[in-house]
């Protein structure tokens, strides 16, 4: 394989989109060619740069408007436009600063959650308690946290519980539950929340999928490199327990 052929497949190689039999000759070439190695490194560095740009979360007002729209569609009622507009005008002034700080807080939490996930995989400190038995994992948290996280095994739907540990999110100790799907690890972080229930929010951070929701006074984050469709399946299973 020569440099031109490597150039042709460079992006698919860096993006891990090449079939295994096409990867081997490239690796072989890279072992001998410093300039192609450099180009791979540059591509990877560029990817990190692009991933460092800010993620634009949907503004809270927009979320509220959209779910309002959906509900109106369901009930078939007509829009009471002027009333909605009046409410909007009233709430815009006071709402902005609140929304901003809330967004910043949730950003920090999401960063912590992703960092916690990465750390757990890299340091191989995935478990404080290694067990597939929810009746062993749940009592383990007793006395270590000031709340009792819900712990369920989802092996019956293809996501076995494999253990748990203590972790930190936004400066407070949280329960981390570890699930497995084939070779993929899913970390679920749980801590008490002020809001009783919110809708699920999903986003990708540094190549990981993060889903966040609140339910029964608990805040949940699920993080994994598992593809979004299967992770959603997992989240739905966890939510319906």
């Amino acid at each position: 394989m020569n440099c031109d052929e490597v150039t042709r497949d460079l992006d698919a190689f860096v993006d891990r989109e090449l079939a295994a039999d096409a990867v081997a000759p490239i690796r072989h070439h890279l072992g001998a060619c410093a300039s192609c190695r450099q180009r791979v490194t540059d591509r990877e560095a560029l990817g990190r740069l692009v991933r460092s740009v800010p993620y634009y979360d949907a503004p809270e007002l927009l979320c509220a408007r959209v779910s309002g729209q959906v509900q109106r569609t369901r009930s078939g009622r007509r829009l009471v436009t002027w009333a909605a507009a009046a409410v909007l005008v009233l709430s815009v002034g006071g709402g902005i600063s609140l929304v901003r700080s809330a967004a910043t807080r949730s950003d920090a939490a999401i960063d912590d959650v992703v960092n916690g996930h990465v750390r757990s995989l890299m340091a191989e400190h995935l478990f404080d308690i290694r067990s597939t038995d929810q009746h062993t994992v749940k009592p383990w948290f007793l006395g270590k946290l000031d709340f009792s996280p819900p712990v369920v095994d989802l092996a019956s739907v293809g996501f076995p519980l494999v253990g748990g540990r203590l972790d930190y999110v936004a400066g407070r100790p949280v329960a981390a539950l570890v699930y497995q799907r084939q070779k993929h690890t899913i970390n679920v972080f749980v801590c008490p929340a002020s809001n009783a229930t919110t809708t699920l929010r999903a986003r990708a951070v540094r190549g990981f999928h993060v889903h966040h929701w609140m339910r029964d006074g608990m805040s949940f984050w699920a993080v994994s490199d598992l593809n979004d469709v299967e992770l959603m399946e997992f989240v739905r299973a966890l939510q319906t327990i």
Partner: protein
């Protein structure tokens, strides 16, 4: 139509959809309009969602909404970036000088990305920020997978040419 299900399946992807729309439109106001219109369409088309890939499905609707708005504006130039974001997140573990440098780098990358033609911009956002596979991107952008690959390659070439000095030359292979 089971709206409860719509809320559970589609709305979780609202942030991601907004982020995508924001990169397409390059300003908050247009992105919000696109998302609102797209959600109205999404509710209507919801019964046509066959598989479980709600994110890709919603992104395709967002994209169509954006392009049909563009063509309605017939020939109008893309709106200028209305930049309201100065609060770049910085790594608090860095010292103040390194943090400044990082913020500078992030601002430069964002600007460079915004200046790319929209076809290039969107494949980079879908690949790098949303972590989508070529197949997923191909379905949203409605081009063959090979086109996704060549477009990504050209987008990255353009972007690294713009960013070349000095941020990319820092990492050297021994």
């Amino acid at each position: 139509m089971p709206s409860r299900v719509f809320e559970e399946i589609v709305l979780p992807h609202l942030d991601a959809a907004f982020n995508y729309a924001r990169w397409l439109t390059r300003n908050d106001a247009d992105a919000e309009d696109v998302i609102q219109d797209a959600c109205v369409r999404a509710v209507r088309f919801f019964p046509s969602l066959r598989d479980d890939d709600a994110r890709g499905w919603l992104f395709a609707i967002v994209r169509n909404t954006w392009y049909s708005r563009l063509s309605r504006r017939a020939g109008a130039a893309e709106a200028l970036p209305l930049d309201s974001r100065t609060d770049e997140p910085a790594d608090s573990a860095l010292d103040p000088e390194a943090r400044l440098l990082q913020q500078f780098a992030v601002a430069r990358v964002r600007e460079a990305l915004e200046q790319l033609p929209v076809d290039f911009r969107e494949v980079l956002v879908l690949r790098e920020i949303e972590g989508m596979s070529y197949k997923e991107i191909a379905a949203i952008v409605r081009v063959p997978i090979g086109t996704v690959m060549s477009r990504l390659a050209r987008a990255r070439d353009r972007l690294s040419a713009v960013l070349k000095p000095p941020s990319l030359s820092m990492e050297r292979v021994p």
